[in-house]
């Protein structure tokens, strides 16, 4: 009897709650939360995911159900990526250890004149992040050193911020067989340039369009561009602006929008692309960069703090880049097989060293387990 009781107490002591606004496989936040769950479960913790929505097959409980766990003093890992009132309130009332995983919040300025809803959500999200940063009891896991710097500026104690890259689906993608129909369709005319990321105002699609047009002007050949990513109908003004840019720049036939893809289709899209171009203006980490690294697609990117950090010093990240320079870099990578090989090898080496599942898992546990132990959850 006593042994049963002590086992039960031990199990209760080793509980961890992971709170995420929406849990979907394939989404950066969702993949990260699922990776954390796997890692902690392997270490013997009882981990439960709480979300307000998402893919019901992933077996999460509603965020409201987290209340009893959090009031019992169960440690919580809270994913901060946007406005999430429900999760924020739950976390503030939690009585146990509070760890916030920071994915960064897209600044409201990107949504000005695009969507009042999103401006508001981004502002509230930023305020919630700031309030948590000022709370000395909160421990942080930042997705990048750039995020960590921002958190410190907002008032978080640098000693309580660890930098751990997000769990990603790159290795899962490599394991999944590419979708055959998609592979056949796209392999017939491989993309010169691929970009993966939702069609949001911070993702640099307008810049990418100009670079594609500039490439045509400089080299007398059109780039075949494929774009993967979801969009929100509330951004119709933004989508209309992109459509207008595409027509004005004479890119009608050369830019293909693939929308949201399954993992198998995404694998096929990477396999049938010669290069990933990232002109994104704001990223907390930028997962597609590591997916490209794992799947052997060379990357050309414009300089943006987290992007440069994710890609590392051996990647083609262009600081203060003109459209001409980016177009030229693309051309060089497309034409120069030896350069392509060197870039792909450097990316693969960095991936294996920093972003592979087992490496991320080790650094995540190294950051989290001491906190859990100190909180009496070991």
């Amino acid at each position: 009897m006593r042994s049963w009781l002590s086992r039960r107490r031990a199990t209760e002591r080793r509980r961890v709650a992971i709170l995420v606004p929406s849990l979907v496989r394939g989404d950066a936040t969702g993949n990260d939360a699922l990776g954390m769950q796997r890692a902690l479960a392997r270490r013997g913790y009882t981990v439960r995911l709480f979300a307000d929505g998402g893919d019901p097959t992933l077996g999460f409980a509603s965020a409201a159900e987290a209340r009893s766990w959090l009031q019992d003093g169960v440690p919580a890992i809270f994913h901060q990526a946007t406005q999430w009132d429900n999760g924020f309130q739950l976390l503030r009332r939690a009585t146990g250890l509070r760890i916030v995983r920071d994915h960064n919040v897209t600044p409201a300025s990107f949504f000005e004149d695009v969507s009042a809803d999103f401006v508001q959500a981004a502002k509230v999200g930023a305020r919630q992040r700031e309030q948590l940063a000022r709370d000395p009891a909160v421990a942080w896991i930042a997705a990048s050193a750039m995020n960590a710097r921002e958190l410190a500026q907002l008032g978080a104690d640098p000693a309580r911020i660890a930098v751990v890259p997000p769990f990603n689906q790159a290795e899962d993608l490599a394991r999944i067989a590419p979708d055959e129909a998609a592979l056949r369709r796209w392999a017939a005319l491989p993309a010169d340039v691929l970009f993966v990321g939702r069609l949001a105002p911070n993702k640099g699609h307008r810049r990418l369009f100009r670079v594609a047009a500039t490439y045509g002007e400089l080299f007398g050949r059109r780039l075949r561009v494929r774009l993967v990513g979801s969009y929100d109908r509330r951004w119709s003004a933004w989508l209309e602006l992109l459509r207008r840019d595409r027509v004005r720049l004479g890119l009608d036939g050369s830019i293909e929008l693939l929308g949201t893809l399954t993992a198998a289709e995404l694998h096929a899209a990477y396999l049938t692309s010669r290069l990933l171009l990232c002109c994104s203006e704001h990223e907390g980490f930028c997962v597609p960069l590591v997916e490209a690294a794992r799947l052997g697609v060379p990357v050309v990117a414009t300089w943006q703090a987290a992007v440069a950090e994710t890609l590392g010093p051996d990647a083609l990240v262009l600081r203060d880049a003109s459209d001409d320079l980016i177009a030229l870099a693309i051309d060089r990578v497309l034409r120069d097989a030896a350069l392509r090989e060197r870039l792909v090898a450097a990316q693969a080496e960095r991936f294996a060293r920093l972003h592979a599942d087992d490496v991320v898992e080790r650094s995540f546990l190294a950051a989290v387990e001491p906190l859990l132990e100190r909180a009496g959850c070991a």
């Binding site: 307000d52 695009v114 870099a329």
Partner: protein, 386 residues
């Protein structure tokens, strides 16, 4: 194993230098200036764009996002409330009573919360399913449009739209009988070769190249070229003369070519056989496949020449779409071509023309007018540049 080193700094410096040199050599960019983001968005807001059109065009669909579901979900749990009282004296007691009530009501509130949660999750699942289906619909729409074009063409070749079975005949034999000898056709087309001198590096494609007369002229001028022809016999005939002719539909063949990879696109006496929608699409695709500055030539029957209706137009029952020169030029410009010009050819034989009777000046003027109306050149071409 360590990865081979990439001297990125040196590479970027090298690229910067090369970019500056290239730009100096090419001159200032001719791309339209970037529209100011805020101004363009405000202008679009004033235009009140359709909420669905760009979205549908852009492929995928997502109606709600995490933040909206979060708001719904935040309301899902009726028990998730803070207890407080503004009465200073009995406040603590009031809060204690509220907490006790909350505890008593917990089983009911939990059931309500579970129901609300299930409802929110159902919304989320529905939203995902709807987005997925809209995605499929968007993709299928493109395929259906293509099939419609093909179907229209098949029906159109047979003549009347309401005849369900396409009427076919040996078009190659028909052309042999009425199009004229190869020498005659070559002489008619010779005037277009000048547009490819000096020869472009990229190939010129002749859409509906028939027996390949223009390909021969291009070959003689040192211009790389290939042709597309639907008629199997014509393809075989052209190949025996060493010409690169591929069998297939002109639009499909053109779509398969990489963008910006062609030095020229020509099409002689083809568009009058196509449905208008296909011609419009063909021009748009040609625009995207041509390198900047590449030349487009589209020749067809000149419907401004009345004798043409009595002769060339009526003799070929597969003619279906008369195109006025101004109409075709407009379509070409709409497809994004620049520097368009109309070139007329195929003069009517002089002995067919009316002769003025007598010396009367008015009669002579009237005869000249009638000649211009009845016997204008039988063909014209729109020449334009990408």
């Amino acid at each position: 194993m360590a990865a081979p080193e990439v001297d990125v700094e040196a590479l970027i410096e090298d690229l910067r230098r090369e970019a500056a040199e290239m730009r100096r050599a090419l001159g200032a960019s001719v791309l339209p200036p970037e529209e100011d983001r805020a101004m363009a968005l405000r202008a679009l807001a004033r235009e009140k764009p359709s909420d669905t059109a760009p979205a549908a065009e852009l492929g995928a669909a997502r109606l709600l996002d995490g933040s909206r579901l979060a708001t719904l979900s935040a309301l899902a749990d009726p028990g998730d409330v803070d207890f407080h009282s503004h009465r200073a004296s009995i406040g603590r007691g009031v809060v204690a009573v509220k907490r006790a009530l909350r505890r008593l009501l917990t089983p009911i509130l939990d059931r309500q919360a579970a129901f609300n949660r299930a409802a929110v999750q159902s919304f989320a699942a529905l939203e995902e399913e709807l987005a997925r289906r809209l995605d499929v619909v968007d993709r299928q729409r493109g395929q259906i449009e293509r099939r419609l074009l093909v179907a229209e063409e098949v029906l159109g070749r047979g003549g009347a739209q309401d005849v369900p079975v396409p009427v076919t005949f040996d078009y190659a034999a028909f052309e042999d009988a009425f199009r004229g000898s190869r020498d005659h056709v070559r002489a008619q087309l010779e005037r277009y070769v000048v547009h490819f001198v000096p020869p472009p590096t990229e190939p010129v494609v002749d859409l509906g190249c028939g027996r390949g007369e223009f390909l021969e002229l291009l070959g003689a001028a040192g211009v790389p070229s290939w042709g597309v022809e639907q008629d199997e016999r014509r393809v075989a005939e052209a190949r025996t003369r060493g010409l690169d002719v591929r069998r297939g539909d002109v639009l499909t063949a053109l779509e398969e070519v990489p963008d910006g990879s062609l030095g020229g696109v020509v099409s002689f006496q083809v568009v009058e056989h196509l449905p208008l929608a296909k011609t419009v699409r063909l021009l748009a695709v040609a625009r995207s496949k041509l390198r900047p500055g590449g030349c487009l030539i589209v020749e067809t029957v000149n419907v401004q020449s009345l004798i043409t209706f009595a002769r060339a137009w009526s003799i070929d029952p597969s003619h279906r779409q008369p195109l006025h020169p101004l109409t075709l030029r407009f379509l070409v410009e709409q497809a994004g071509f620049a520097r368009t010009q109309l070139v007329y050819g195929g003069d009517v034989e002089p002995d067919v023309r009316l002769e003025p009777a007598g010396e009367d000046a008015a009669t002579q003027r009237n005869v000249a007018r009638l000649n211009a109306l009845l016997f204008a050149p039988q063909d014209y071409a729109v020449v334009a540049f990408a």
